[in-house]
Symmetry: C2
Subunit: 275 residues, 2 copies
């Protein structure tokens, strides 16, 4: 069987496992000589404390949960894999680990169970597909929570600078000398797209270019082929001012999800377009 704290104590010649525990956890109250003996014995035996036993008593797991909607991780365009990877590398510096779980429709209980089992100390929820009700519930339960690519008032979140990004992209095209720059997106009611739309318009304005509603086209909400559809609509352009263009007000800007249903693809579908 694997080596336990008993074995270390015995080998070090100290009668008590408590002493070993103290030494290995860097607590004081142990004579230097004793400490050395213990350290050496542990090294020789290749002792690694049992995770379950330790966390049973300390009530800490140094583990975080990472949740993504199953729909996204399967898409090669989703960037949540990169987020997870980077988060893990940062967490490791603090001796934290990540439990990964996909979020499937109807699995609302899973994250809660992870918490109640005392497996994880906090959660990162990636994507805007995690039900808002669940997020609110977790938040109320006092669970340390961070959202990625999503936003709920009062919850920590990491989001994309949509406005700034669109501003930069548009400015770049303008600097290259283009003056007729279109704007494609899934649908303007989505907060993330409306933010980009704002950045697009601000850039036009700052560079003294007119905003032309006929150069704006929406595709279909939460549809993979949406960018194509939008482009098609722009190319098949009817008379300016038709319903699909321009500055219509957002129905529920406060409640719209950040970055729509296809966040990983957003940067491909929502871009400056040059004619």
């Amino acid at each position: 069987m694997s080596v336990t704290i008993r074995d270390v104590a015995k080998r070090a010649g100290v009668p008590l496992r408590a002493t070993v525990s103290k030494v290995l956890n860097g607590r004081l109250g142990v004579r230097k000589a004793t400490r050395e003996k213990v350290l050496q014995a542990a090294r020789e035996l290749g002792y690694i404390p049992d995770f379950s036993a330790r966390s049973l008593v300390t009530k800490r797991t140094r583990t975080l949960g990472f949740l993504v909607h199953a729909r996204h991780t399967l898409s090669p365009h989703a960037f949540y894999g990169e987020v997870l990877s980077a988060a893990e590398q940062e967490a490791r510096k603090h001796q934290y680990h990540f439990l990964f779980a996909t979020f499937n429709q109807g699995d609302e209980a899973v994250p809660l169970t992870l918490l109640q089992e005392q497996r994880v100390e906090g959660l990162i929820l990636a994507g805007c597909d995690i039900p808002r009700s669940l997020i609110v519930q977790l938040k109320h339960g006092g669970v340390p929570l961070v959202l990625v690519d999503n936003h709920v008032p009062g919850v920590h979140s990491v989001v994309i600078d949509n406005e700034g990004g669109a501003y930069e992209a548009t400015s770049h095209l303008i600097r290259l000398g283009y003056t007729k720059i279109g704007f494609l997106c899934e649908w303007l009611d989505d907060l993330s797209f409306s933010e980009r739309f704002a950045g697009y318009k601000r850039a036009l304005h700052d560079h003294g270019l007119p905003f032309r509603p006929e150069l704006v086209a929406e595709g279909e909400p939460r549809t993979p082929g949406s960018g194509h559809i939008a482009a098609q609509r722009l190319l098949d352009q009817g008379p300016p001012g038709s319903g699909r263009c321009g500055q219509r007000p957002h129905r529920n800007p406060g409640h719209a999800n950040l970055s729509g249903g296809w966040p990983g693809r957003a940067h491909r579908h929502c871009r400056g377009w040059v004619r």
Copy 2:
């Protein structure tokens, strides 16, 4: 604090926590009436067994480790995120979870620690960047192991059907009527590319087309721009039979890594090429 098995026992009116444990784990040896009482009490209290306590005694964590080289997960072209996601969804059906960890140079101890801490019961190692020595060591340690996109004799592994895929791709082009089909790859000494090369040649042969060495070009091993380089070389074609073409023998086919250093990009760089 959270609700423990004691609370359930008390509420159910049974004097023993052991009984509760039995019921909740579906063991027999409990009268139906008692069982009902326990079940109801557990439901009412929202009881979830503590993970650490449970695994301390059972010695099981129902948790698997998923390791990928840090270099890969950061690349949007790597498909390991999809592998992880799919693996997790399958594992969940069996009530298993995944601990995710990136593998960093010099972190050889990490997977071993995870094992010794009794945190994970087995490991999935994705990519060909995990040191072979580590794999062999784990294997000898009796750790349940599965490699993805990598191969070591005697270790379970999931690999791409390189030969078959290239055969299909080439056949497809032939069926479309093309007869002058090129083959680009990073370098032929790599097992995965040489397998694809074999499939390519087999398809040509099966369809009665000649193999023309001047249509084969290598790029640079383990270089992101490799496909471009190979294409350039093919286009700048010198006289047939120059060193970069054809059927030279593989130095160490048995020891070559599967699918080179850029597995996620392989399908983009190594393809049938039509002129």
